[in-house]
C-alpha cells in the first residue's frame, strides 16, 4: 500500500489528535483526556464509517490547513469553521470524498469554539495506554505527545478503498440534529456530592447569575467569574477523584468547571456536575462567553444520556461500518 498521510500546512490553534480518551485509567493518576466535544467527534467518525470513539483532529478557534496525499472520505463537525476544499465551500456534518492532493482550509470560527476532522479509517498513531488522545501536559499520546505543527505528516489509510463503487458519498447528519452552538442556552447541572457544604446563597446565585469564562481556561478546565458561591465552612475536602464536568469551588467562591484534561484528584468541594448531554455545548464555549446554569435531576440527566445513546445507535446502524459505505442517504 502506498504511504498515505495528511500533511499539516498550517497548524491552526492547538490542533491535536483526540479520541474517546482514557476512561478507567484515572486510578493510575492518568487524566481521561480525549475530545472536548464528544458529540461532534462521534458524529464525524460515524459519518465516515469509523468507530465513534476513534481518533480525530480537534482544533480550537483557528482551523488548520490540511493536504491529503491520496483520495479520502472525510467529515468535518463541531463549531462552524466554514470549511473549504480547494477553495470551494464544503459542507460540514457530512461525509465528503476528497481527491489526492486536495487542500482543506477553514475560515474564521463563526459559531462554537472547537472543530473536528475525521478521515475514513482513522489517523494511524500508536495508542498510549489504550488511547490516541494527546495529553500535551504529559507529553504523550496523539502525534508525538504534542499539538500539531506545520510540516507534520500524520499517517492515514489510503481512502481509495472507501470510495470504490460508492459514488457520490454524501452521507450527512439530518439538519435538525446539527447543534446550534451560536444560540445561548442554560447548562444543566446535577447538584453535587458536596452540596451540603454550600450556603443557601450559593444555590440562589448559581441558578440565577451569569458566569463568565475567564481567559485562563483550557482543556483542563474553565475558570469562571461571577457572584461568589459561599461555603458553609471550609472549601476543602480530602482528595477525591474528580471527573470532567464537575464544578469545583475553591475558597474564593469562584467556580471551576473541569474539562477533558483535568487532573484525576481534587481537594475542593464539588457543588455540582454538568449533565453529560450538555458537556459538548460547554466544550463549544470560549473565554469571554457567559454561562447560565439550571438544576437538573440525575434521573432527567440520565434520560438525556439514554436518548443520546439511542440517537448514536440509529446513526451507527445507518452509517454501517468498513470497508464498504452505502451511498447517498440521510440519517435520523
Amino acid at each position: 500500500m502506498p504511504h498515505a498521510f495528511i500533511e499539516i500546512e498550517k497548524a491552526g490553534l492547538f490542533t491535536t489528535i483526540q479520541d474517546g480518551g482514557r476512561a478507567g485509567k484515572q486510578m493510575y493518576g492518568v487524566p481521561v483526556s480525549g475530545a472536548m466535544d464528544r458529540f461532534a467527534m462521534r458524529v464525524a467518525n460515524l459519518l465516515v464509517g469509523n468507530r465513534p470513539d476513534g481518533p480525530v483532529l480537534e482544533f480550537t478557534l483557528i482551523g488548520p490547513a490540511v493536504r491529503f496525499s491520496c483520495p479520502q472520505v472525510i467529515a468535518v463537525a463541531g463549531g462552524d469553521f466554514q470549511p473549504r476544499l480547494d477553495g470551494e465551500p464544503m459542507p460540514a456534518w457530512q461525509a465528503v470524498p476528497v481527491r489526492a492532493g486536495a487542500l482543506l482550509t477553514f475560515g474564521p470560527c463563526v459559531a462554537g469554539a472547537r472543530g473536528y476532522l475525521a478521515v475514513a479509517g482513522g489517523f494511524q498513531v500508536p495508542p498510549v495506554m489504550g488511547s490516541a488522545a494527546t495529553y500535551v501536559r504529559g507529553g504523550y499520546g496523539g502525534w508525538q505527545g504534542r499539538a500539531l505543527q506545520a510540516g507534520d505528516r500524520i499517517p492515514v489509510l489510503d481512502g481509495t478503498v472507501f470510495l470504490r463503487g460508492t459514488s457520490p458519498i454524501r452521507r450527512r447528519l439530518a439538519p435538525p440534529w446539527i447543534p446550534d452552538y451560536a444560540k445561548p442556552r442554560p447548562v444543566r447541572v446535577i447538584p453535587g456530592p458536596h452540596a451540603d457544604m454550600f450556603r443557601q446563597e450559593a444555590w440562589k446565585r448559581l441558578w440565577t447569575a451569569p458566569y463568565r469564562i475567564l481567559p485562563a481556561s483550557d482543556r483542563m478546565g474553565y475558570r469562571l467569574q461571577g457572584p461568589a458561591l459561599p461555603h458553609r465552612q471550609s472549601a476543602d475536602v480530602l482528595s477525591t477523584y474528580i471527573f470532567p464536568g464537575a464544578i469545583q469551588v475553591p475558597a474564593d467562591g469562584q467556580p471551576i468547571v473541569l474539562m477533558a484534561d483535568c487532573q484525576v484528584t481534587g481537594g475542593y468541594a464539588v457543588i455540582g456536575v454538568v449533565a453529560g448531554a450538555d458537556l459538548p455545548y460547554l466544550a463549544q464555549r470560549k473565554p469571554g462567553d457567559e454561562l447560565r446554569f439550571r438544576p437538573v435531576s440525575v434521573a432527567e440527566a440520565q434520560r438525556l444520556r439514554r436518548r443520546e445513546a439511542a440517537f448514536f445507535a440509529r446513526l451507527r446502524a445507518g452509517c454501517g461500518q468498513h470497508p464498504k459505505m452505502r451511498s447517498s442517504s440521510e440519517h435520523c
Binding site: 486510578m27 456530592p193 482528595s239 477525591t240 484528584t265 456536575v273 434521573a299
Partner: protein, 233 residues
C-alpha cells in the same frame, strides 16, 4: 457513609470524616466497599476509584440508573469475606536515604527532635498500604506513618522535586513519579521507575497494595534501576 450522584455516570460513596488527615479506619472501610462492589459484579458498573474518604463508581447510565445502582449497593451491606492477602501485591521499595537523595532529612529530624537514623528506621520499619493513587501519574499516597513522623507540609513548596523522591507529609508517605513542584518533605530517593507509559497497568502501585521501604547504599543504586517490573511478572 452516604451515596450521592456525582454527575449522571458516577456514584460517590462519601464518608463523613472530621479529621483534616486521612483516617486509617475510614480508608479500610473504603477498601472494603470497593471489594464488595467489585465482587458483586453489577452489570453496567465500569470502574472503581477508592480515595481516602470516598469511593467513586463509574457506570453506564444507559444500562443502569442512579436509583437502581444505589439500591444495589445499599443491599451489599453485610459481612465481608476476608481479604486474600496472597492476592495483594506487596513491594519492597529500595531507598537511598538522606544526603543529596533526601535533602529534607536533616530539617525533618530537627523538627521532630529525632536523630536522622531514627527517622529512617521508623520510615523503613513499617508496612504501608497504598490508600490512593493520584496527584501525579502513579503517585502513591501510602499510610499510615508512625505517629512520631507526622508533621505538616512545607509552608513553601519546593519548586522542583526530583523524580523518585520519597517524601512524607501528615500521616502519609509517597513517591514522586516525575519531577514536579511539591510540598512534601523529601527524605530519600528510589531508583525504581514507578510509572511507565508503555506498561499495562502504567502505574506500579494501585490502591490496596502494600509496600515497605528498605534502606540501600548509594553504590547499590545500579542494581535497582530497572525497577521491580520484570520480577513481578
Amino acid at each position: 457513609m452516604e451515596l450521592f450522584p456525582y454527575g449522571d455516570d458516577v456514584l460517590l460513596l462519601r464518608w463523613k470524616s472530621s479529621a483534616p488527615a486521612p483516617d486509617p479506619a475510614i480508608v479500610e472501610e473504603v477498601d472494603a466497599w470497593a471489594r464488595r462492589i467489585r465482587m458483586a459484579g453489577i452489570p453496567g458498573v465500569l470502574h472503581l476509584f477508592p480515595a481516602f474518604d470516598s469511593l467513586a463508581v463509574t457506570y453506564d447510565p444507559v444500562r443502569l440508573s442512579f436509583a437502581d445502582l444505589a439500591e444495589r449497593i445499599r443491599r451489599l451491606d453485610g459481612p465481608l469475606p476476608p481479604e486474600d492477602a496472597a492476592a495483594v501485591p506487596c513491594f519492597e521499595v529500595p531507598v537511598v536515604y538522606g544526603g543529596k537523595y533526601g535533602p529534607d532529612l536533616p530539617a525533618v529530624a530537627r523538627t521532630l527532635g529525632l536523630p536522622e537514623d531514627e527517622v529512617i528506621a521508623l520510615h523503613a520499619g513499617k508496612e504501608y498500604k497504598v490508600w490512593m493513587v493520584g496527584f501525579l501519574a502513579g503517585f502513591p499516597y501510602a499510610g499510615a506513618l508512625d505517629g512520631r513522623l507526622v508533621l505538616p507540609r512545607k509552608t513553601s513548596p519546593s519548586l522542583s522535586v526530583r523524580a523518585g523522591s520519597v517524601a512524607i507529609a501528615g500521616n502519609l508517605t509517597g513517591i514522586y513519579p516525575l519531577a514536579s513542584p511539591g510540598g512534601w518533605h523529601v527524605i530519600g530517593w528510589t531508583p525504581w521507575p514507578i510509572f511507565h507509559l508503555r506498561r499495562d497497568p502504567p502505574a506500579l502501585f494501585q490502591a490496596g497494595c502494600r509496600l515497605r521501604f528498605r534502606a540501600i547504599a548509594e553504590d547499590e543504586i545500579d542494581r535497582y534501576q530497572g525497577g521491580p517490573w520484570d520480577k513481578q511478572g
